[in-house]
């Protein structure tokens, strides 16, 4: 299950996000890391230091691209400049697969820079799937979409989030970046059983898994990526691995970022749930 057509039949194990505060440590100590996930948008530039850093990383490490602003679910067409720059980066990194979110975030050319939840309608599922297909055909790389954390639900929704996810990935014939922390966060915010969600996910489409920490507020939970992974999320992760098999796994830590060693050690906790052969 680890290697499938949605992750380029790769055998990647545990990775971490490439973040600016860790650059110095990485270049000085050259730690052994299974792979790095980069935020595509941070490297979709013309020239300069970001690309110089990336090239140094690519000399030594495997990299997978993760996007935050493709907005497959936005009603407007895909941004052609975005796609063109993304393809240039795909050629540079040779990412075996590429991920972005099952969400929207722009309308009429204005960008929110956020991952806004979809209304779970058949109209939205078809439009989103068609844009994923269009992007995949243009980029010529497998695409997996990530379930987002959400804090709102729409009157117009016609199905559950996991039914919507299935509708989209089946229509698009694409992979899933299964974020078990996001499932946990949304389950608490919307009062559903996260295991119902996990059990409904088509295992054969899971290309990658995300784990992360979050923040608790009085009335809701927020996906802040600024804490270690909590036990209930590890339990969800364990359940997911049992269901889908060993799968490339990535820890996200984007705010209040601790030392490289702390982030890496947190990610490597996932090894406990993975077969030894891939837990590297």
């Amino acid at each position: 299950m680890a290697a499938n057509k949605f992750n380029g039949n790769s055998d990647y194990g545990i990775g971490i996000g490439l973040r600016i505060p860790h650059y110095h440590h990485i270049f000085e100590h050259k730690p052994t890391v299974g792979w790095f996930e980069i935020i595509s948008e941070n490297f979709m530039v013309d020239a300069g230091r970001p690309l110089a850093v990336l090239d140094q990383i690519l000399e030594r490490y495997r990299v997978v691209q993760h996007g935050v602003s493709m907005y497959f679910g936005s009603a407007e067409p895909l941004n052609r400049e975005h796609l063109t720059r993304l393809k240039k980066l795909v050629k540079r990194t040779k990412t075996p697969w590429l991920t972005d979110h099952l969400c929207w975030g722009s309308v009429d050319g204005r960008y929110t820079h956020d991952l806004l939840p979809m209304p779970y309608t058949f109209e939205a599922a078809e439009l989103t799937a068609s844009k994923i297909r269009e992007a995949r055909d243009f980029l010529e790389v497998p695409i997996a979409v990530e379930n987002v954390s959400s804090y709102a639900e729409f009157h117009v929704s016609e199905m559950t989030e996991w039914q919507f996810l299935n509708e989209v990935v089946e229509r698009a014939d694409c992979g899933i970046l299964l974020d078990v922390n996001n499932i946990y966060v949304s389950s608490r915010n919307h009062s559903f059983d996260p295991y119902d969600y996990l059990n409904a996910v088509p295992a054969e489409r899971v290309a990658q898994i995300h784990i992360a920490g979050h923040s608790k507020f009085e009335k809701y939970i927020l996906d802040t990526h600024d804490h270690p992974v909590i036990d209930p999320v590890w339990e969800l992760y364990e359940h997911a691995i049992r269901k889908v098999g060993a799968t490339p796994t990535l820890l996200e830590w984007d705010d209040r970022i601790p030392s490289f060693d702390e982030v890496h050690a947190e990610a490597l906790k996932a090894a406990k749930y993975l077969p030894a052969a891939v837990a590297k």
Binding site: P50, A75, H101, G109, T112, L115
Partner: protein, 288 residues
Amino acid sequence: MNLLELQRRMAGAIMAPLGAGDRVTRAASAEVGAILTPNDRLSSTERLEIYAKSYWYRILDGLYDDFPGLRAIVGVRAFDRLSRAYLAEMPSQSYTLRNLGSRLPEWLARHPEYAGKNPALALDIVRLEWAHVVAFDGPEEKVLGPEDLLELTPQMTFRLQPYISLLALEYPVDDLHLRVSQLAEGRGDASNAVMRHRERRAVKRFTMQREAIYVAVFRKDDSVYFRRMTADEFRLLDALRGGKPVGEAIDSVFGESALPVEELRTRIEEWFRSWSEAGWFCYPGGEA
């Protein structure tokens, strides 16, 4: 309500300026009631507010990072007011936060009421800081090196690397930027939610004496530099960037000059050598 209409209404409510205490306004609240459901803990307005705050704090942090000198000049509170007004009028039109401040120099020139006690100083620093962003990762084209300039003729024209900005400034804000940017933190786009401003460090407010300077903002070995120039060097380079042939550009700067021809020639040759060695010229056709 179809998808486009829903997204227009939802985005409008999220991107509407926050009210007192960073709460969503009544208008936004009224709009979202027809779109979002409440649950047993949160009203539809409270649900909207999570997204509205995340939106505003993320983009405010983006500007905060890119313009450390401007906030040192106008002060942190005034910078926050300025940022909110700018972003309300000029919402992001790009998929990346990198471009968030691209229209700030032009906007601030139209809105001096947000530029503090010394608008000229604020405008100088905002131009310099946006030029810094451009120089950091702007496009680079195939370099025209010193060997390509061996046979300089009056008819030749030149293109400057797109990442270079030439700025005529009323204040020596290059020094100011270097001082305050040591405090700046790196950042990038990310997928986490934002529910708070990053900590605002108290920065000593700066003021300075007027002193006209000419600066090239450029990149070398992946680092951004400011290089001061004389007025004549600036005007010649600016004329070349504007597309004037070498002879015409030199005439436009030195046509009335009383300098001896040999001294003029030596000076101009040194400039051209310096510019070409720094890789500032690129091929006229834009070959990459």
